[in-house]
Symmetry: C2
């Protein structure tokens, strides 16, 4: 099949690398040429609002998917009149607005952090008083990697926060004293079959994912079942096709759903080397009408992101059982340039990698 | 690095798919566009004797390798005056002529089947009488997948065989009563470090590889060490850089080296899913100056070739733990179109696959 991908970043790159062995070819659509997908297929350049460019793109594809959740919903809807679009555009609508998203989750009986909407400085103040301090203010739309967020510890900070976040509609979330951050990545195929990966345990530095371990260590059966139930409810409610990620907070022996991404997810990159079938392959399997592959873990897999700079690949190649994934991107502060996954690492192996890749604070 | 590959077939495809995650990009050179490498890099079209085309190609590359052993030696030598070429062109010289190859192996103290050269019908008759019947006549050059070979069971067949094989210089090999066919795949990096994969056990149908299992079952330590010694001798003698394959016959508890390929090899395809580092990745690591990755087996891996036709990928996707690799090639009788690797398959899983892909006899 000719698979079209909206977006030409590293997720598109890894989708293509997983999809070629299944016999597919790839066409990308983005507003500028992507370094990550250079060489891996044709790229159509255009605005996401340019219906003529989108129509030309649709003609080159048997199916269309997307690698980031900020694709305009109208773009996905327009394309879906020409060619199948997976995951369903409704998943974009739900995940693009943090208020809609958390409301959607709560309506499914899924616990989330407490939240309030605020569209003015006064509403922001009211929300803070209602939720108690500290709390977290986030833009309702277009946040990622910790961008568009601010912690409020004192009511005096409110005017500055309102200004910093751009005076746009906000969600204010009650502070959650969680013991760790987890994520569940799951896939649903066109027949409605669901496959769920072992949970990932995630650590962030400066709002950017730093380390993920799959399977998350010391996970109780209760938590595992709770995560599986959350993923299943969301996938089924949306008649989802493809891979979905849900970020979770562990509080005691329960989970709160924080946000969802209707796409392959950074916390699932360790599935490439660590699981029987990667999240990228299962996304492609799902949207191309194949059955899903096994999500079983083949190893304890620990992934580190390469952010801002990349160590010399020759040095990385010396680390035992280190699987190297570079995205072909130019270095820039805060930019995800690659990741390395360690298979069943000893403590010293993990230290050898983490000292090379951990951002200096 | 920009890696140039001579040849645009499925081996080039799988080298590129393994090389992108290491941060490399790919340029191919072939006499016609390759279906297998379409979308995976730029292809330069030209004759292997066209020095102008080769010079242009060399300018686009930081290093050059090849995916088939019938690249003219002059081509490799010419390119090596412009850009590093790995494996060394001498490996091509040795492996392109079956007499040179077996003489090279014997000079290293490596046992091979008995053989004689024959450049005329009379010499063919003399060789048959010396070696005894049955014996195997093969063209010295350009044979593959059982092509350019004939078994001689009766001296009366000699005129017909001489004619069928084209009246070209031949090697005549004494018949070997082997218990099984094995292969050893090994890699050597630019620093001289060597990594050797567990042996593969191979089964052919109509001269074409049908099934490979890695690690080869029930292998004695003696055989393993013998194979490792053979591979090491060849790699070191040639100051080799990259992946090399040697086909072996097991006779009792000893090995005869049958032929070698200075490249990634079909009997090593199971390393993609079954080993920590695939043969493709290790070839790219070696020629790009990185250290080699672990060749350890992560699973009992059984590969079946898809020859001539491909089952519906949706049907293949139902088989548990089946890793699908399609090459993007149009179906044609006897053509390798893809392969499927099973991880730790049960008997019933292997039967499910083999009934779909075994050629009707």
């Amino acid at each position: 099949m000719k698979i079209g991908i909206l977006g030409a970043g590293q997720l598109g790159r890894m989708l293509a690398l997983a999809g070629y062995p299944l016999g597919h070819s790839f066409v990308f659509f983005d507003q500028a040429p992507g370094e990550s997908t250079a060489g891996l297929g044709t790229t159509h350049i255009g605005q996401f609002t340019d219906q003529q460019a989108l129509a030309t793109f649709a003609k080159a594809c048997d199916v269309v998917t997307y690698e980031f959740e900020n694709v305009p919903c109208e773009t996905a809807h327009f394309l879906s009149t020409k060619v199948p679009v997976y995951p369903p555009p409704q998943a974009l609508e739900v995940s693009q607005d943090r208020i809609v998203e958390k409301t959607f989750l709560q309506n499914l009986g899924i616990a989330t952090p407490r939240f309030e909407a605020a569209s003015s400085e006064t509403e922001l103040r009211n929300a803070c008083q209602k939720l108690g301090l500290p709390c977290i203010a986030k833009t309702r739309r277009f946040g990622y990697d910790g961008k568009g967020q601010a912690r409020i510890s004192d009511l005096a900070e409110i005017p500055a926060v309102w200004k910093t976040l751009g005076g746009t509609p906000l969600i204010i979330e009650g502070f959650v004293q969680f013991s760790r951050e987890l994520s569940v990545i799951a896939a649903r195929d066109v027949h409605g079959e669901i496959a769920i990966y072992p949970l990932a345990q995630n650590e962030h530095i400066q709002g950017i994912l730093h380390r993920s371990e799959i399977p998350a260590p010391e996970l109780s059966p209760t938590l595992r079942q709770e995560a599986q139930a959350i993923a299943t409810k969301v996938l089924e409610k949306l008649s989802y096709v493809g891979v979905l990620a849900i970020e979770l907070f562990q509080v005691g022996d329960h989970l709160l759903a924080n946000e969802m991404a209707p796409r392959v997810h950074n916390s699932g990159h360790a599935t490439i080397d660590g699981m029987v079938t990667s999240q990228f392959e299962n996304h492609i399997r799902a949207i191309s009408g194949m059955s899903l592959g096994s999500t079983e873990a083949r190893a304890r897999s620990v992934m580190y992101n390469l952010v801002g700079t990349t160590p010399d690949p020759k040095e990385l190649s010396i680390i035992p059982d280190a699987k190297i994934h570079l995205y072909g991107k130019s270095p820039r502060s805060g930019r995800k340039l690659g990741h390395v996954t360690l298979l069943n690492p000893s403590e010293s192996t993990e230290t050898a990698l983490s000292t090379k890749v951990t951002p200096k604070s």
